[in-house]
Symmetry: C2
Subunit: 385 residues, 2 copies
């Protein structure tokens, strides 16, 4: 039973973290570090009393007088948003990996908290795959993203992406299309939707999945906030698939985070003439990413050992492939047109007559040769292969 | 100076090897082994006197009475063909690797000799790259093969392939188109050309490069002979590029040989929806092949260390990418429309006013912001990125 002071503690912690999320840019590694050292409430106290380090105070101090954490929480609740923090039952432990991972582009550390919209729970994300790629994707890219999303969703995996145009929206739709769970991690406050063209999509995702952000309501997306957001996409997933990415794509930043978190990174190739696939090709070439061509291959990479072991892709077997080399040699020596006697077949094949006879009998059993008019010839079945 | 008995020796060796090439299927590992142990002339003697192992004698014995090695050599010379054997100055030493490599599909060992057509020499092949792939290639595959061949040929590398439809012919043409040397390794006797549609192409290759075969004139191509031929393509080259290959493509057999010979294997990806690229994707995925997207990347793999080191593919750098995260934060806080005063920018950015001022001055120097009407706004240059 949680005592009222226990509830007060949790609420105080939540308010402190809301405060911090309002005064610091998301993914500020110094804020994450100080919060881990001092605790959220102590850090807020120090900021208020100017007792934190000078540069921290300068940053946070400029905004601090203007923040209203309680009001923001109340207004968020009205909008159907909640602020989830470490210690809450639904806090996803997969984010802990961010504590140890080195910063990238001056963004790093676990989030102080997450604003969440949707009836599902963050801790349902134990089996999630991130699917990312270019906004300006080709239909090859979006078709592939949707197909892979549908396959992994059918297998019970949640699909995580960034709610953007191109690959992201295809991944979300591919998952929802088979009734799967999808999570959109945004780089702005959840009171609005960017891009505006995705209002309906994000509403649908909130209804069947989750929409998540490190940014408080009222925050607009910026390039830094996209970079910060990408680490969350990578950290919430078991592994990341990059479907299409040009050489300077934001998806490569997400790929970089996947590596930092020691999670499997996968890339879907495309035509080498396509600039949209060049970023993926570079990742595969460097060894950073494993080449995958389907959802099944993705599952083989991220799945439990042995569970999704695929057979090597094989074309349908043909009868003649099951023949020994020697039998193939005999078969090659049998004419199409005018039948040849056994010794003629033996000579063409370069083998003894006894062995040729045995071989021809076997081939006749396989239906590949027939004897007529004093000689052997190939059957229609043999010619069909 | 070679004495007349020395010349007789060489001629006797040549005749013995022609004999063996006429009685054994190419790439018969037993023949290669016995020839290495006993020498060609001793092996022929034993075959003639039935002193070789029973199965060997059975095979060779059936054909032996019918072969006429001197006549074949004379007729070959009339056709402009020569039979090159180990010990000849032009014998390519890169084929020696086949002695140690384990057999594959019951084909193996170095060739007993090679029938050659063309004024170039086999020992010019110290720097050669094999380019192989599907006969039923797409234009994506043939365009890519031709482009890669042109690039490596321009850099002085010979291009080796199999003279077939599809990827092979594109590789040969791509090389010849830039005046490069190309070698077609065929699976039949060089008195004719298969496919018949490539008579002119093979004539052109013989004129500017070389046409090579393990098969004596009069021999038709068979599946086993294609398998035997593939090991020669791999063995004559420093490395092999597979451009397009379905999952049951002969090119995968050549790829397998490349691995057995410990030479670099490279694969060109394509759309994952294309069955024509599925074989290549499987090779890359398994780690057997390195993904390459261009001739330059091929050269980086096969070239001498450091000679062809490529820069990571980069998009053209933009001014804002050279900014620190802090300057980007300031830039993000500057409005597009109505100018904002310095303290307003500072508050939006969440930093101190002194630092905001410094940042804005820097950005003004970069031409990204301008001060007018009492405030800061973004310049057109900033908006263009």
């Amino acid at each position: 039973m949680t005592s009222s002071s226990g509830l007060d503690d949790v609420q105080a912690e939540r308010l402190a973290r809301v405060t911090l999320s309002l005064v610091f840019e998301p993914g500020d590694p110094r804020a994450a570090k100080l919060c881990a050292e001092l605790g959220a409430r102590e850090l807020v106290d120090r900021l208020r009393s100017d007792r934190a380090a000078a540069d921290i105070t300068t940053d946070a101090g400029t905004r601090l007088p203007f923040v209203e954490p309680e009001r923001d929480l109340e207004r968020a609740a009205v909008m159907g948003l909640r602020f989830v923090i470490p210690g809450d039952p639904e806090w996803p432990t997969c984010l802990d990996g961010l504590a140890a991972a080195p910063p990238l582009a001056e963004r790093g550390g676990p989030p102080l908290g997450l604003w969440v919209r949707g009836a599902r729970r963050l801790d349902e994300l134990s089996d999630a795959i991130a699917i990312v790629g270019s906004r300006a994707a080709t239909t090859y890219g979006t078709d592939t993203a949707a197909r892979i999303a549908g396959t992994v969703a059918t297998d019970g995996w949640a699909v995580i992406s960034g709610g953007a145009y191109g690959v992201d929206q295809a991944a979300h739709r591919g998952s929802m299309g088979v009734g799967g769970m999808t999570v959109a991690v945004m780089a702005h406050g959840l009171d609005r939707t960017y891009p505006a063209g995705h209002v309906d999509l994000v509403d649908a995702i909130a209804e069947r999945g989750l929409v998540v952000s490190e940014l408080a309501p009222g925050s607009a997306p910026t390039r830094i906030r996209f970079l910060a957001r990408n680490r969350l996409i990578a950290a919430l997933a078991r592994g990341t698939v990059v479907v299409e990415a040009k050489v300077r794509s934001g998806a490569l930043n997400t790929a970089n985070w996947t590596g930092r978190l020691h999670r499997p990174l996968m890339g879907v190739p495309g035509p080498v003439t396509s600039a949209f696939s060049a970023g993926v090709h570079a990742l595969v070439r460097s060894g950073a990413a494993t080449l995958v061509t389907s959802g099944d291959e993705v599952l083989e990479v991220v799945g439990r050992v042995g569970e999704h072991a695929l057979a090597e892709p094989r074309a349908p077997e043909r009868v003649r492939d099951r023949l020994t080399v020697r039998l193939q040699q005999v078969l090659d020596a049998v004419p199409v047109g005018r039948p040849a006697p056994t010794d003629g077949v033996a000579r063409t094949a370069g083998i003894g007559i006894v062995e040729a006879q045995r071989g021809l009998d076997k081939l006749e059993q396989h239906g590949l040769v027939s004897f007529a008019e004093g000689g052997w010839r190939l059957t229609d079945a043999a010619l069909a292969h």
